[in-house]
């Protein structure tokens, strides 16, 4: 009798745990690769998202019960295997925690695909300028543009050689890849805008994508504006829900407030108020800095 009861409880517990996992749909990390000290590629189990995502889409992840929700671009997906690939740059607590996770670990929440997919069509020659971790969200766009029959010229820019990522993957889908580093430790020395001007002066460019830190996108947009080249930027504002419910991601586009998570993340770069966006990105600077220092202490301890 007693044994039967214990067994019954055990059985109930098992069902509870099973239900919990089934309903939560936790995502397991299947692969991990370091692109550089601070940039990591993670391949996650997420079959539904892998099936429905398109270039330009992103997900929001929450690592655990106490974690925050952060947006990350889906840089690739494998529908058959049911996986998505994220490329994460370590900038603060959550991205650092993700970089420190290992194969087999689970991420509590992964929701998506979010945002409006990139509008991809054949336009002719497309110049794709990616700076820093902006290269990750650029990858699926480059791939899509190439597959649509465009001539794709990709510029990869970073402060120094060890921060250049995804070069091989980019080469696969680009007609030409130009590498630029601020310090000249790899490729050409100079800012991304110098590389852009070089291409624009050399040949006719029909469309441009700039993705990277806000300041880089701002100057990239100013450069193409001079030549009247239609330009898209992918904005990386602070987000909470990612479904249009909170307005944390809002920014002025052409004088109107738009929500990056649902109306974007890509917008006409010439219409974006980058200064406002940069200010808004700094909203939690002090708290983030403090939290990161505290986190570093706990990791080192």
């Amino acid at each position: 009798m007693f044994k039967a009861r214990i067994f019954f409880y055990f059985w109930q517990l098992k069902i509870l745990i099973k239900n919990y996992f089934r309903q939560k749909k936790m995502s397991k990390i299947l692969e991990k690769e370091f692109f550089s000290k601070n940039v990591v590629k993670l391949v996650l189990e997420a079959p539904e998202i892998a099936r429905t995502r398109k270039p330009g889409h992103f997900v929001i992840v929450r690592i655990d019960e106490k974690g925050e929700r952060i947006p990350l671009t889906i840089s690739a997906a494998d529908e058959k295997k049911g996986t998505i690939t994220l490329v994460i740059q370590r900038v603060g607590v959550t991205s650092a925690k993700l970089c420190n996770m290992n194969v087999g670990d689970v991420i509590m929440d992964v929701v998506g695909p979010l945002g409006t997919a990139t509008h991809i069509e054949k336009v002719g020659t497309v110049l794709c300028a990616g700076g820093g971790v902006g290269v990750a969200p650029m990858l699926p766009i480059v791939e899509g543009l190439k597959k649509a029959g465009n001539r794709v010229i990709t510029i990869l820019a970073a402060r120094s050689k060890d921060l250049i990522i995804l070069e091989d993957q980019m080469r696969e889908f680009s007609d030409e890849v130009i590498v630029m580093t601020d310090d000249g430790s790899y490729g050409k020395k100079g800012l991304v805008t110098a590389g852009m001007e070089e291409v624009i002066n050399r040949e006719k460019v029909d469309l441009c994508f700039v993705i990277g830190p806000a300041i880089m996108m701002k100057f990239g947009a100013l450069t193409t504006k001079k030549y009247n080249i239609p330009t898209m930027a992918s904005l990386n504002t602070i987000m909470v829900d990612g479904t249009g419910m909170c307005g944390a991601c809002r920014v002025h586009i052409g004088g109107k407030t738009r929500f990056v998570c649902v109306d974007g993340p890509e917008f006409d770069a010439h219409q974006v108020d980058f200064d406002e966006m940069m200010t808004r990105l700094g909203a939690y600077k002090e708290q983030e800095y403090e939290a990161y220092q505290k986190y570093l202490q706990t990791v080192e301890a």
Binding site: Q23, K24, T52, K66, T94, M108, V110, A248, T257
Partner: protein
Amino acid sequence: MENIIDYLKAERSQEWRAEVRKRMKAKERTSLQRINMPEEDPDVRNKNSVEVNKGLAPEMAIAEAHRCLDCADPTCITGCPVGINIPKFIKQIEVEDFAGAAVTLKETNALPAVCGRVCPQEKQCELNCFYTQKLDKPPIAIGYLERFAADWERNSGKMSVPKTEKHNKIKVGVVGSGPAGLAAAGDLAKYGYDVTVFEALHEVGGVLKYGIPEFRLPNELVDVEIETMRKMGIKFRTDFIVGKTATFDDLKKEGFQAFFVGSGAGLPRFMNIPGENLNGIFSSNEYLTRINLMHAASDEYDTPVISGKNVAVIGGGNTAMDSVRTAKRLGADKAMIIYRRSEAEMPARIEEIKHAKEEGIIFMNLHNPLEYYSDENGRVKQVKLQKMELGEPDASGRRRPIPIEGSEFIIDVDTVVVSVGVSPNPLIPKALKNLKVTDWGTIVVDPDTMQSSVPEIFAGGDIVRGGATVILAMGDGRKAAAGMHKYIQEKIQAN
């Protein structure tokens, strides 16, 4: 309608009810005083997240129940959107059958512990009580009694799991886990369907979780209800956005026969005035979500929030009251409501306004913001306000606010919460091109069945009403469940 009246009559003429009515003269009943809800001390509670209303003790509830006259024509019921048999449950409290009272409530209301706390009773059941209408006395405290019975049941540890019909293996989907979705899911499960609730966020409950704060509606209470629903066999899929993670067509291929959409009014409105995108200016949705869903005020959680010493909340609804009282609890010295009409026009529950005042909230009624100014770091530091006066009533029946020229002045603020309303969540209309929506973006439905222009899709709650109340959303969910049941059964018979 006829048979409902007959049913109520039959219930009322039951022996025990007749006997209870005779226990005390009507005169005596009406001379009793309305019970006061015991509350936390305002100076203590405005620094923590403890629930403000402590709930009635059994003897208080019984005393209040004695006031109810068990009217032959219970007008109170007409004020309740889900038609709770109010005199019956109150008389059950009078005879100390608290468990029975809870059962009566649950016949028509899946979440009595929630409604007892958040319904605007003064505009619904209590407004229509005989005491208010004919005696000009404070109405029976129907909400407090409802909460009492529901809490009693929960604390007794004998929560009844509603009976469900034999499982019919037909899959139906519910989009959104707010009150509308939960009510629909509950009824669909009772009809015997295999119900899955899809929720975009990582927690179930909609506004009950991310919006309404702990001091008004403890999360634990919502969780208990959801646990009961799990026991009924309802499945919950969080982190799942219908229309994005999977389309309706994908789900139909998986075997889902019909859907209820209760996706809410999640899109915050702004006023589009200069400086509104400065740091430190939030929509109430963002502010409350950071605190209630992401627990930003707790050090243990990673999500940050900035909440300063001078907080201005723009608006006069429940959302504004919740935001301003939250700001006070997070340590604001000055937590202000800035509302362009007067207190009489405020849409918030009267009790919330009263509680806010007790807690030291400053009310700047008849004021409207015009522009925000920032410090050198892009954080809001001041707001320019304009004084208003009231003109003729507008379409909403409320008197229209008119600006007073030349009355502008500037005050210091370091945090602003914009709480001027929400628009319907556009995710579903965007995902379904042939779904008929109004110019406002609300889904058009048949008012009797809640069926949309797409036959297998039903809808209710804020996505149909554009912003309403918990109980109206739940009423819609129940109506839609009945509509879906009829639709599916007819389809089966036709085949």
